[in-house]
């Protein structure tokens, strides 16, 4: 492996992390502003123009906060679990393509970190690691609320993960590949949301549960569990959980855009490759805004209801979806 490639790759990963962080920071602002607007409030608008410096102010405040670790907590696990939660949210970005190839100074640069041939499998594997972080955070705090939050998180995991895994199958079958670049290229003229509409809906519901967003935010249900699994966390460790949730929101939207909405491509129109990330960004923005909207609109589900939804609605539907897709593909060739 030559040095130039290594440097190119390092720059790409730093850019990716930078965008992940900025995205996280401004998503918190966007969510607070949008929620406020929906609830006929104004929202944070004091720090900088339109409150644009609010995330920065929050970050600085959290760094200077005292971090408490309860003496009764399991200290190594207590410190490990925020890391275990945030890391999958970050490394999931390694396989998501955000563009084709561009030429900078005579050098061809792929606008994705890496294109592995089992990309979708990587997504499912990495996305479900975070649940360990949350469950361990709940357990290691030695706090009753936190424990309940952690238990709910694993309950949630066993109910939506199957539907999520099966929803991935539709695009894989249509594209005949697990590489995300291939899947995007296969959607050149027809977004997979059209033949896989059911799969898309299942993916969105399971995806909401995956990132613990309302109406599936039982692990941290403020009204019943104070803050759920991160009750005992303060300062930057709390910020890590927050970061994990928001970066994962963006990641799930990016995955939905890649698998079902044509990724960085527009149908029929051939844009210059330099605009690819912009196209992807717009799709992510629309999906993320949808998530915020859902949070403002729907009440939280009870968690046995979520399990019933996962097992009695989503799982059979997902199986039937794969079944129908297979049969139709056989008949249409």
């Amino acid at each position: 492996m030559d040095t130039a490639l290594l440097i190119e790759w390092l720059i790409k990963s730093v850019i990716l992390l930078f965008f992940g962080l900025t995205g996280f920071a401004y998503l918190t602002l966007l969510e607070r502003r949008a929620l406020a607007r929906i609830q006929v409030r104004i929202g944070p608008n004091r720090a900088g123009p339109w409150g644009l410096l609010q995330p920065l102010a929050d970050g600085i405040k959290l760094i200077f906060k005292e971090e408490l670790i309860p003496p009764l907590a399991d200290k190594p696990l207590f410190i490990l679990s925020p890391i275990l939660t945030v890391l999958p949210a970050l490394i999931i970005w390694a396989v998501i393509p955000w563009g084709r190839q561009i030429v900078i100074a005579g050098r061809e640069i792929n606008l994705y970190l890496t294109d592995i041939n089992v990309g979708v499998l990587y997504l499912t594997a990495v996305a479900s690691i975070a649940v360990y972080g949350i469950t361990l955070a709940g357990w290691s705090s030695n706090n009753k609320y936190a424990l309940l939050g952690g238990l709910r998180s694993s309950a949630q995991m066993v109910s939506y993960e199957l539907a999520l895994g099966l929803a991935f199958l539709g695009p894989i079958m249509l594209a005949g590949s697990m590489s995300l670049v291939d899947i995007v290229e296969a959607q050149k003229n027809l977004w997979f949301v059209v033949p896989q509409f059911l799969g898309f809906i299942i993916f969105l519901l399971a995806g909401l549960a995956e990132v613990n967003r309302a109406p599936f935010d039982m692990p941290e249900a403020e009204q019943e569990l104070t803050a759920g699994y991160h009750t005992e966390y303060s300062g930057m460790k709390f910020a890590l959980f927050f970061m994990a949730e928001y970066i994962k929101m963006i990641a799930i939207s990016a995955i939905a855009a890649t698998l079902f909405l044509g990724g960085y491509r527009l149908p029929f129109i051939d844009l210059p490759p330099i605009l690819d990330p912009v196209v992807l960004f717009i799709k992510i923005f629309v999906l993320v805004f949808g998530m915020i909207w859902v949070r403002a609109t729907l009440p939280r589900l009870r968690y046995d209801r979520l399990m019933a939804l996962g097992w009695k609605v989503l799982l059979p539907l997902a199986l039937v979806n794969v079944f129908i897709t297979a049969v139709i593909m056989v008949f249409t060739g």
């Binding site: 790759w9 390092l10 990963s13 992390l17 760094i63 200077f64 906060k65 005292e66 971090e67 408490l68 670790i69 309860p70 003496p71 925020p82 890391i83 945030v86 970050l90 490394i91 970005w93 390694a94 396989v95 970190l113 890496t114 592995i116 041939n117 499998l121 990587y122 357990w139 705090s141 706090n143 009753k144 238990l151 309950a155 066993v158 109910s159 993960e161 199957l162 895994g165 099966l166 199958l169 894989i172 005949g176 697990m178 104070t226 005992e232 300062g235 930057m236 460790k237 890590l240 046995d304 399990m307 097992w311 009695k312 799982l315 199986l319 794969v322 297979a326 049969v327 593909m329 056989v330």
Partner: protein, 118 residues
């Protein structure tokens, strides 16, 4: 192919910098004045009763078992889906049969009342 995975591995190391920084930096600049009441386990302001590490009846225990089975079966469908275009009709029908079996298993569990909370 292996270099692709090397990229993933290196990206994990680069990504680890972020949580490392956020864990280590506050150690030096955040104030540290713990006292007994402050570090107490939070329980709505009253004194903590007992501890949280108790034996807990997990209602969804049987779900977790079923989940394991179904999850592995889902993973089996992945290679089938990738090779779908190149498979002969016989192999396709086998996959379809497999999904039908999964559905039948689910219906069985449902009828047995496993999908209700005990």
């Amino acid at each position: 192919m292996l270099t692709n995975w090397l990229y993933v591995g290196l990206f994990i190391i680069v990504a680890l910098v972020l949580p490392a920084v956020t864990i280590i930096v506050p150690r030096f600049i955040a104030p540290k004045k713990p006292n007994r009441i402050k570090v107490d386990v939070y329980e709505c302001g009253i004194e903590t009763v007992g501890e949280a590490w108790v034996q807990f009846k997990v209602q969804y225990y049987i779900f977790a078992l079923v989940f394991l089975v179904f999850d592995i079966e889902t993973v089996f469908l992945y290679p089938w889906a990738v090779a779908f275009d190149k498979l002969p009709l016989f192999a396709v029908m086998e996959g379809v049969l497999f999904i039908a079996l999964l559905l039948a298993g689910l219906v069985y569990l449902w009828r047995k009342g496993v999908l209700e909370w005990a």
